[in-house]
Homo-oligomer: 356 residues x 2
Amino acid sequence: MTLPVADMLQGGAKWFAERGPLQDRILSTRIRLARNLRQLRFPPRALPEELNAVLHRVENTLTHLDEWGPDRLFPMERLSPLERQFLLERHLASHDLTGDGGQRGLAFSPDEGLGLLVNEEDHLRVQALRPGLQLDECYSIANHFDDQLEAELEYAFSEDFGYLTACPTNVGTGMRASVLIHLPALVLTKRIKKVLASVQQVGLAVRGFYGEGSDVHGNFFQISNQMTLGERESQTLLNLERVIHQVLEHEDQARDLLLRDARMQIEDKIQRALGTLYHARLLTAEETIALVSAVRLGITLELEEMPPIQAINEILLEAQPAHVQLREGRELDAQERNVARARYVRRQLASAGAVR
Amino acid sequence: MTLPVADMLQGGAKWFAERGPLQDRILSTRIRLARNLRQLRFPPRALPEELNAVLHRVENTLTHLDEWGPDRLFPMERLSPLERQFLLERHLASHDLTGDGGQRGLAFSPDEGLGLLVNEEDHLRVQALRPGLQLDECYSIANHFDDQLEAELEYAFSEDFGYLTACPTNVGTGMRASVLIHLPALVLTKRIKKVLASVQQVGLAVRGFYGEGSDVHGNFFQISNQMTLGERESQTLLNLERVIHQVLEHEDQARDLLLRDARMQIEDKIQRALGTLYHARLLTAEETIALVSAVRLGITLELEEMPPIQAINEILLEAQPAHVQLREGRELDAQERNVARARYVRRQLASAGAVR
C-alpha cells in the first residue's frame, strides 16, 4: 500500500481548490479533535503493543465505515522522508506524526479535507480542512467523522472534564480550531504587532505561517483557540469567528490607508512581484511565498492583470520543496529545486490563462 | 519655426531604428567634425555680431543645398528648456549648445542621422550618427555634408596644421569618432577596468554613458579617438575600429565565462529584468537603463522570450526624462515621470509584439 503521490500531485488538494467564503483574505479553516482510546496509555507513554492495538482497532473501524473501507490507513514507517515532508506540506500530517518512531498512521479522504492522525500525541486526531472561513462547516465535518469513530471505538472520556488527552491543554473539547489569515496591509502599515497582541489578549494563539515564526515571508498568520475546558465547542467557534472578523476589519482599514497614501508604490510592488513570478528562472520557497503574498493583496485590491486567486493559492502548496521534488520524481539539490520551482510557477500561471 | 516635437516623438530617431552591424553589442557610431569660418573669432571669444554672421551664412548655405532648404536652422533661444533637454537626449545637441547664451543654432536631417551645431565651441560641428558599428559609412555621410558646406563657406584652415579649432585638442582633422558600446559581461565579470585601461593606453578616450560616469547604470561606454593631429582620418578610423574589435573579443570571452559558470543565475537576472519592464508601474530613468542593459545581454545570449532588440534600444532613447514629459505634453514631477515612463515601456514592449 503506497501513497498515491502521482494522483495527489495531479489534482492538487481538492478541498483547497474550491472557493471559500472570504477567500481573498482567509486561506483556510482547520478543526482538529484530539481523542484517545480507553484503557490504553497515551502514545508518549504507551508500549509498542498498545500503539499497535490502536492502529489495528482504527484500521478495523475504517474498514467498516461507508466512506472509507480497507487499506486507507498509511503506516508512517513505510513512507520515504520525501513523502512524509510532502504530507506535512499538504497539511495532512504534523511534525509529531512524521518524526522518528513507529506505529503511527495516517488516513485521509479523497479530497484531503478530512484526515485521521493515529498515535501522534494522542491516539487519534481527527482533522477537517476547508477553504476560506468555514468554522461551522469544518466542525460539522470533523464532528460527523468523530461520531462514526466513536460508535466503534470507546473513547477516554470523563463526565467532569470531557475528552481526556495526553497534554492537559487539550482536555475538555479536545478541539483546536484554527484560521489561516493573510494580513499584508497590516504588515505593510506596521500595525500587525498591535493587532496580534490584542488577539492574544483575548486568549487566542497566533503564529506565523509559511515562514516559521518570521512574518517576513508571506504575511500569513494562524489564529486558533487555546481554551478547550469549560466551554462548549459552539462557544469556542463563535468567539474565534468574532475575533477573526475584527482582525479583518483592521486589515481592511490598513488597505484603505495604503491605497490613500501610497497607491502607486503598492501597485508597483505588486505588479513587480507578479512579473517576477512570470519571469524568474530561480525561485526559493521563501521568495515565492513573499511574491504570492503580494499578488494576493493585488487580487483583493482588484488591480489589473491579476491571475485568479485559486491559481495563486495553489502555488502556496505546490511550490513547497517536497512537492517540487516529487513532481520531478527525485531528490533535487537547492539550485535544482529553485529551477524546477520557477518552471512550475510559470506553467501554473500560464495554464491559469492569466494575462502575463 | 518650431521644433517638430510631435513628429519626432512619433517616429522615434529614424537612423536609430535601422539595423546596424554588430548592433547586439554596439549601439551606435558617431562622427563629429569641428569647423570654423575664416576671419571670424571662435565662438568663446566672438562678438555677438560675429556669431550672428555665422548663423546667417550657415542659414543661407543650407537654404541653397538640395537636401536642406530654408527654415532648417533652429535658433536655440527659441526652444523651451524641455525641448533643449529633448535634443540632448536625442544626441542631436550638446550641453555646450543648449546652455546659456544666444546666437546658437541647430539643424538636422529628417532621419536625425545628420546634424549641424552652430556656434557651440566651434562655429560648426557637423555630426553623423549611424546604428551599430559603421565608422566608414558615418564618416562618408559627415564628409559629404562637410564638402557641401565647404563649397559655400570659407573654412579656417592651415596648410601646416589642418582645420583650426577653438580648442587645440581638435586641431588637424577636427574629427571625433565615437562608438557607443555595451559591455555587460565585462562589468559582471569585473574585467571592465582592465580592458578600458588598455583602451586608454593606446590613446583612446573612454567614458560611461547613460549614467554619467558611473558604470552601474546600463554598462554602456563611449570609446573615441583623441588624436586629431598628424594622421589622416582614415588612419584614425582604422585604429579605432581595430580596438573596438579587440574590446568585443574580450566581451565575448566574458560572456562565455558567464554562461559556463553561472548560466542559471544570469538567465534568472535577465528574465527578472524583462519581467520588471513588463510589469512595473514606477520606473526611474536609471533603473530603466539598467533593466534594458540586462535584456540586451539576454538578446545576445539568445535567451527565450526576449523582445526584438530595436524595441529595447528605442526604450533607451524614449524613456529619458524630456521624452517622457513631451510625450505627455507637459512638465511632470518625479513620480509622474516614473508612472508615465513605466506605462510607455509596457506599451512599447506590447506593441513590439514581444512575448510577455
